[in-house]
Structure formats: C-alpha cells, structure tokens
Amino acid sequence: MPPSYPSPPSITHRPALDRLRREMGAGGARHGVLAMDKAGVDACLPGGGLPLGALHEVEPGHEVEPGGPGSVTGNGAGAQAQQGAVAAGFIARLLGRLPDPRPCLWVAVRCDLYPPGLLAFGLDPARLVLARARDDAAVLAAMEAGLRGGGFAAVVGEAGRLGRLAARRLQLACLRHASTGFVLRRWPYGTPAHLPAEAPAAVTRWRIAPAASGGPWAPPRWRLELLHARGGTPGEWIVEAGESDASGIVRVVAELADPAPASQRRRLG
C-alpha cells in the first residue's frame, strides 16, 4: 500500500496566504499601526506607521553640539543615558495616542518619572500604573508578566541590558496579547564600560537625543533616528513634538539625509 502524503495546499487558501503576505510585508503589524507624522517618518515604517502589538526599543542618544563634531553619537553616554528624559517624552507621546483605552504599565529600577510632566506630552497620568523592580532582569520579567496578563494597552520598561532571548519573549508576548511593548534603554547609574553588540530582536529600534529648539521656549525638538525597522528602512530626522500638534506624534522639521554615517552608527549600536 503506498504511503499517504498530505495533500498540497488547495487554491482556496489564497485569501489566507494573501493576508499572511500582507502581514509579513507590514513587519508583523497584525494589530494595526500608529501613524507618526503621515509623511517622512511613516514612509520608513512598514505599513505606514508604528506597528502596534509589537516590541519597540528606544535608546537615548548623545546630545550633539551644533557646529561641533557631529559624529560623536554612541550608545548612551552622559546625562541622557542616565536620565533618558527625551526618550521618556517620546514614549509618553506614543502612549498618549494609543487607540487602546486600557491603562499602561511603566516599570523601572529607578522611578524618577514625574507624572505631572506627562500632561505636556498628551498622556493622562491616571492611565499609568507605575512599578519598581530590583534590576534589569526583574524589569524585563515584570514587563513580560504585564504583557501576558492582557490588562494593559502598553508596557514600558526601563532597562539597560536587553538580551536577544528576553527581547524575543517580549515580542511574542506583545504579538499574542495585542499589547505594545517599549524598552527604554537606560543606565541610571552610569553606562557600563563594555557593552556587547546585540542583534536587533525588536520590531523597531529608535535613538533619540535632544536638539536645539526653534526659538525661546518653542516646542522641544528631537534628533530622531530610526536605526532598524523590520520591513522598513532606517532614517534620521529632526522632529518637533508640540503640545498643539494634532496631526501626528511628531512633526519633521529637517530630514537628515546622510545614509553613510547612519549605517555606520547602526553597526556601532
């Protein structure tokens, strides 16, 4: 008797395949996207926006002196790596625009996030649940517990180290429970001397540093770098995050079309 083989996929599965292809093309954006600015930044992102239900990594970059040596960008150095204030502002702005009404969880080792300051970024502090963890590993474990519980629209963790395995677990938890995860790379007690190079496991990876604003106490400007986007292309912009910006999360002020240093930096990071 000849062995029976599974029958080949029939032609009726085409819609399912199409959907799968669409999702793969959108970088796994199964739960929709969050439009950033409906222009320059979104063009670099798969699906035209930040994928929801996925893990994103935000690292603070070094501030650059205008006119000074522009290439001094490293993985977290100085006050920005310790404070991560600009990165926190970027994440707060994203959380405030999430379509999901559930609360958000913010886990950190050093809880110096000041809730009244969140209002300026359009995030209601009442939506936030804060948690304190012992170390980086506990932060990531608490993030995973928060994602798996399914009670939060988004989970933010401030951690210095993000191993590939931990990132992969978080990404799967995000995908399965339709929550968005953010890892804010932060070293509140100083950057360690040697940082191992990590392969990206998050769907997108951003580096953000402050930039000189347009005038006396104009809306803050950030130097936003998209280091990696699954299914997208890297980019670098100077953006403005104004309080009254109803159109998107950020507004691109200047496009920094300088692909060579950007790719160089990606290898460094």
Partner: protein, 506 residues
Amino acid sequence: MWLPNWPILRLHRSGAASADLPAATVASERGQRRLTAVCPLAAGHGLRVGQALAEARALCPALDTHEATPDEDAAALSRLAEWATRFTPLAAANPPEGLWLDIFGCAHLHGGEEKLCAAIADRLHEAGWPARLAVADASGAAWALARYAAASRADGVAGGDARIRVLPPGGERTALATLPVGLLRLDDRSVAALRRVGLKTIGNLARLPRGEISARFGPLPLLRLDQAFGAADEAIAWPLPARPWLEARRFAEPIATPDDLARALSLLATGLSARLEAEGRGARRFVARFHRVDGVEPMIAIATARPVRDAAYVLKLLLGKLETVDPGFGVEAMALEAAALEPLAPAQATLDRQPDHATGLAATLDALIGRLGEANIWRPAPHGSHVPERATVPAAPLAVVPWPREDTARPLRLLNPPEPIEATAPVPDDPPILFRWRGALHRVRNAAGPERIAAEWWRRTPDPTRPAHDFIRDYYRVEDTKGGRFWVFRVGLTGAPRWFLHGVFG
C-alpha cells in the same frame, strides 16, 4: 447585671432626648400606641409602662416621645456584652435590660467578687450607664436581686454600695423569701394568678408543694423557682468568640513532596473560600504557613489588587510561590490565613465567557504584586500641593484618580533630592548663563521664569538657625545649546545664592 431603663438611657446618651424633660418610648401594640419605657421624671408624673399614649399625654403634656427600637437596643446590649468580656470571657446580653456575666474563676483577678462588681459598676458609671449588679450561685436569684432595689438597703451586706449585691453561697432561699413573685421572670398572667390567691412573695410560693404549683399555675413558675434556687440549670446563649479567618490542617504523617503540599493548600483554600463566600466577604492578603517537624515555619504571602475569594485563583497565586518553601524533613501542619477582609458581593459570571478589561487588569496586577511586592506597584495620584516633591502621591493600582489639566511646565524626570550645580548668573535675579552639572558644562541658550515656590508654612517647623528665604525657591526652565532642557532653582536671595537642578524635561 441590670441596666435600668436601657432604652431611655440610650436616648439620653445619643442626645436624642434631653435629661430635663420627661421622656418615653412608644410602640404600636394591637393598633394602639402604648409606652414601652419611661424615664424617672415621667414616672414621677404617674406614667407607667404599658399605658396608652393618649392617656400619658393627658397626664403629662410635655412628654417627649420616641419610637421604640427594640432591635437596636438589643444590638447595643450585645456590644456592651462584648465590652464586658474584659472582665470575664463569658458575657451575654440579656434583653431587654440586662447582661449575664459568668464570673466563676474570674473574681480573684480583681480582688474578690465585690471588687470586681464595683470595678464594673464604676466603669459603667463613668461611661454614663448606671448599672446594678448582683452575684449569686443561681441565675434566677442574681436576676431578681439585681432588680430588687430595697434588698441591699435592707441588710447592707455589700458595705453600703447600693449598686451591688453579693449573695453568699447557698443563701438564695433566705434572700429571696421576702421578694415579690414578680421578680421570678414570670409572664403577667402568671403573676396576676399568683397574686389573686395571695401568693405575694417568693417565700410564699416556695412553701407550697411542687405538684400543686405546676397543676394550678403551669410549668413556668416551678421552672423559675428552681432556676432561682439553683435546682435547675439555665441555658444562657453565650456568644462565641469571633472565629479567625484561618484554616488549618494537621497531617498524620509529615508531608514533603510539592504535590502533597499543593493538594493540602488546595483543601485549605477551598475551606477558606467557602467560609468567605458564606459571609459575603473577600480578602486582599493570604498567608500560608508551613509548620515543619523541626520547628521552622516557612511561609508564603500573597496580596491582590482587589478582594478575592475564588479558591482556584488564590491557589494559583500561592502555587506560584510554593517553590520558595523548603519542606525540610516534612511539614506536619499547615495553615492558611486571610487578612484585609472587605465585603465582596457574589459575582455574576458573564454569559459569553469574555474576560472584561477590569478583571484582566486585576489579575495582571496580582501577578505583578506577587512578583515585585505590594509596595512596588502604584498609580500616581495628584496631591494638592505646589511643592514639586509633594504634588503626587501613590494610590492603589486599581484606583483611578483624575488629574487636573494644568498648563504649568513640569519636568519629566524629577531628581530627588535636587542636585547642587555650579551656576553663573549675571545678576542675582537672572537665570544662569552657564552651569556645571555632574561634571558637564551646559551653556544656557533660552530661559524662562522665575516661578517662585515657597515651602508650605503650615508644614514647616520653625527653625531660627535658617533664614526665611531658605524656604523659597525660584525655578527657571533653561535650555542649553545642545537642546537639553532642565529645571533649575535658586535658593537664597541675597548674599551667595545656591543653585540646584531639580528636573529634566523631555
């Protein structure tokens, strides 16, 4: 123990009735308003219990009437009995106007029965409750003597304290012989029947043959007579001490395997859950203790964001921590205790098995509390204070406190405590033009301010060594040439101002 006129006393105590006016409580009895209790002033006007209200009003037009509340009176009496457990473990309410106290074996702790009674009477008198106490071997005798005003005056056994009567053992017959039969706790019809045939005192009744009494007046007078003389026991419903929210289980053989421990935990959780459900309560903390054979007691504790009582859920949280328990040579007993109890209405299971957001959130929070500890999860709540450090307080993770919409600029990261910086300002009143923080130099490009925030004088302890301007901060928002935005403040208006960095903007 007798508390004469308990309903009226309660009225006076609560302030509902003035002690200067004649007061009475009334209740509807067979369609007629009748008095159920009268105060001594009203009694002086000729009012008595059982009188019709209309008649009482005719006798005493100024009568202050209140609706009778027998249930509340009895509840207050139960609370008083609970209070009396500090003198004896056995204290029960005896409505409408008395308490039973079993002081057997307790009197010597207070130096004798008289002293114990005096202590109770004194404490009650201080609290505004005039009480009369009697001690006897038999419940009926004590009841009668406490209520018989003339008795203590007649023989003066208790050294002149009219509130207390202590009967020596076996003295019931002589002490009760001259008391009226009404003190035997009989119903009105029996008393009337006894009086009709001339049996006015208890002594008269006791001399009759027993058979004759029960044949002519029914079983009640004989029972009460026996209870007064100690020949018959009286069943008093002593309130049980409150059962703690604890389920415990001892094992014939010590158990050590995780499976056995989990099974035992499951039994304990099921028992506790059934008890909580019967009382309509839930708990927010559970502690499981493992009594090991070598005397060590490991424990695991869980806390939840909302009160729970579902056995499976509690078990799931406990099992998550069971691996931290070292059973050693075996566990011979286990106990599960619930704390932080709150009312919890029975939940209506959703029909379509869809987990709603609030329940999902609570379960997620419980998992996080188990992982990080109860003190490490909170929700920021606003607090009415201008001092930045005090403007937010932690609230329960499930409490949603709305935030006011304010447009005062506040940083995203607040340094606590503020860090001193070296700043250079051209004029003392100006923002700095450059400052050094953590070794890095920042040149200021834009600045806004000042915003003056002073310490709250009502919270500050006066300190003569510190000048008043030490408690005033002038805040500036500054942006350096690289775009970093900081919140700095100056302390000290004259002399050498000191500068601090308090926060970083996003």
